[in-house]
């Protein structure tokens, strides 16, 4: 049925080609290639019809993400991918809407939209390629740059506390909060798949190293520090524990950085609660008849 949400076993036999053949713009070695591979694997394995997938991005290196895909996509404005994506989803609840962008885009200029769309629990999957730097503008500090990070805009070291994306998402009301690392694309693919299958606002913060402008947070740097929540006895249904894990990196001075599923909760989505959408997707709803319009006019007599 075209109006159903995806399930893991649907159409798995019939693999569709989600690749458009368009080459992304990324530097050789960029973490975003792993994200592309992981997302490609996730959508293929879930087996969604590709015409039902809309990938919405902002502006930045990582926002080139929709182009290698042969799905629908919108490459929108810097920081505004979430409202665009939310608009698509609210208008047509049958679609699988995936947001892709970077840390400057989503945690800097667009952070307000993260909070509010998490709060709305709109059924979106938001992948943030977090490289702790502004890449496309050639290397300025980002909202997740660590204190002391020397960048073009902070040559003497950043003095601002880095944002804590998972903690922000959990407290704002996101119902699926995960973190992945480009050094482990298979693990990432599972987390993305989980996010797409989850009904509600899902965010996957991905450590996606910038090999050109970030000499601090490299693949090696992450490899020495990350560990998986799945193998450490973490219970993702426990919100307080999820918050504790979110602060672990900061509290251990970045010695221990958890990746995996921090938090997951079953909660009614925006579409499930919205009055209008009880009549089906907005795009399928009929235009009013003259009689219906005249009934409304009676309010003004």
């Amino acid at each position: 049925m075209p109006g159903s949400n995806p399930t893991a076993n649907q159409n798995t036999k019939q693999k569709q080609n989600f690749a458009s053949g368009v080459k992304p713009i990324w530097c050789p070695g960029c973490g975003d290639f792993s994200v592309e591979a992981a997302l490609m694997k996730a959508v293929q394995e879930i087996g969604i019809e590709k015409e039902r997938v809309v990938i919405v991005s902002g502006i930045g290196c990582s926002s080139a993400m929709p182009h290698p895909f042969s799905t629908y996509g919108i490459h929108s404005l810097h920081g505004r991918l979430l409202p665009v994506a939310a608009g698509v989803k609210l208008a047509n609840d049958d679609l699988i809407v995936i947001g892709t962008g970077g840390d400057g885009d989503g945690y800097g200029i667009g952070v307000g939209h993260l909070i509010h769309n998490a709060r709305r629990n709109i059924d979106l999957t938001y992948i943030v390629m977090n490289n702790e730097i502004y890449g496309l503008t050639t290397g300025q500090a980002s909202p997740t740059s660590l204190i002391g990070a020397k960048t073009k805009s902070t040559p003497f070291g950043s003095i601002e506390t880095p944002e804590n994306p998972t903690a922000i998402a959990i407290s704002a009301g996101a119902t699926y909060v995960a973190r992945a690392f480009s050094g482990d694309p298979m693990h990432m693919a599972e987390l993305i798949k989980g996010g797409i299958l989850h009904k509600g606002f899902s965010i996957i913060d991905v450590f996606s190293p910038c090999v050109t402008f970030n000499n601090l947070n490299t693949y090696d740097w992450f490899r020495q520090r990350v560990y998986k929540l799945e193998t450490s006895g973490h219970d993702p249904s426990d919100k307080s524990k999820a918050m504790e894990r979110s602060f672990e990196a900061e509290q251990t001075d970045w010695a221990k950085i958890p990746i995996g599923l921090f938090y997951k909760a079953e909660k009614q989505t925006y579409s499930q609660l919205d009055i209008t959408l009880q009549q089906g997707p907005l795009v399928n709803q009929k235009f009013p008849t003259k009689q219906q319009a005249l009934e409304i006019m009676e309010e003004y007599r």
Partner: protein, 577 residues
Amino acid sequence: MASVSVRIVGANGDGVESSGALLIKVATRNGLNVFGYRGYQSIIRGGHVWYQIRISDSKLYSHGEGIDILIALNQDSITYQKSHLNPNAIVIYDPSKIKVDELDATKFRLVKLPMLDIAIEVSGDPIMRNTVAIGAALKFIGIDISVFNEVIKSMFGRKGEKVVESNIKAASRGYDSEGVSMVFNIKGDGKQRYALDGNTALSIGAYASGCKFYAAYPMTPASSILHWFAAHENKGVMPKQTEDEIAAINMTIGAASAGARAMCGTSGGGFSLMVEGLGLAGMLETPIVVVESQRTGPSTGLPTKTEQADLLFVMHASQGEFPRIVVAPRSIEESFKIASEAFNLADRYQCPVLIMMDLYLSEHIESIDGFDFDSITIDRGKIVTQKTDEGRFKRYLITEDGISPRSFPGARGLEFIAGSDEHNEYGDLISDAFAGIDSSIEIRNKMHEKRMRKMDTMLKNESIFVPHIENENADYFLVTFGSTTIPAREAVEILKSKGLNFGIISFNYILPLDKEKTKAMLHGKRMINVEANFTGQLAKVIMMNTGIEIKESILKYDGEAFTGESIASEALKIVKK
């Protein structure tokens, strides 16, 4: 034509607005015409608020210059409104609360009405005092009390018999009070009319033409559009209050991209935030409708007062160039009509359509005979739903008319990526790896020319991009856009009574403009430009398009609405110069 202007004055919280709404309902039920306008401030309790309701046996074009009946609910009502009283005005006041020493009893009819005592006596509720005053006003106007009783029954029937009864009692006590008598005797034609404001008319027009999604952040004077959509959420429309206007326009673009007819609305401040999104709609060629209801600027300005100073801003907002349509409705009826047309235009030309309202048009209430729902047609433009040929879908196909086929997510084989970067026919970017190489330069030119060609196409295919002339053979013409056209119509009548033959040249569709036709229409005419701003923005647009300079202007930027009288007296001065 006979008319009477009733002004109800008090503080916020005194029930001024609801009393005004009641009077409007009673008058329209009685087959009368009404025109209502509120004066209020950015304050929730206190302040000095008024609601002027002009009632007439003929169609009205402004709320009237002065006050014929003042319902004074506090002392300030006398102090601040006495200069607005017409000769022989009736002043209804409660002697237990208000002193009228400052009024000359020989010039005005001062009517002592113990509103509060009567209210307590009939209902025990002091709030009923306004109803007592309304009852008295009805007698002065010449509206039979039985009409009031019927309205109360239909309005408050749900609230129970007691509420209905005490309202009826309170009003009839006012109606029959000592010193209250029929003065104006304005008679209706028995035709029941609708009474609504511009934002309501616009909302109904959008609804009737299939607008399914409306996103907004609260901002006066656009908020009532959001309220309308919220109140009708169970009628198949989705209101979305967003975190800011940036989200509002971007969500609207998302919803429109998915195939819904979508609109967002705000005032100038919020529109400033929407500007980047407007450019996105232009580049993605996404049809959206944006409402900009102007208020007095700059910055926060006078949030509850009117102005028309955002015209040039809206016409030119955003970096770069892209097709857009800018239209300013010239009446309540036209707010409906233009809202319903806007979605067809947006869909046909795949561009943003901007509707310029202002506080005066958004909020003033008029009685109308109805809207022409039969005139509504739906044209979704070049939409493809089925794949017909091999190869990738060219969403941005270069065409002669500049309009490319559009598909919606869900349609198999018609997938594409819409890009805010410059792109080729498929939507692939040419901005990153290939910008500046010869083939990309060619694509950029072709794509930009394709988009811009839509302006030529709309000018060629639509007959709407011209001004409108009323009284073609006049000696002088008032030149207006949008809401100012309403009081200008009254001004023409006033000037006529003074022996001057005036006409109106009014603009609704302002961008694009058919230069040749406009030039021909304006050529050789003696014109006075009438606008609610300081710089004469419409005159600049006319100059830019036709080379014709309108030398005389009536400009107003005090935040108050034009009235026919105020335009006529200024026009008279200019003509006599």
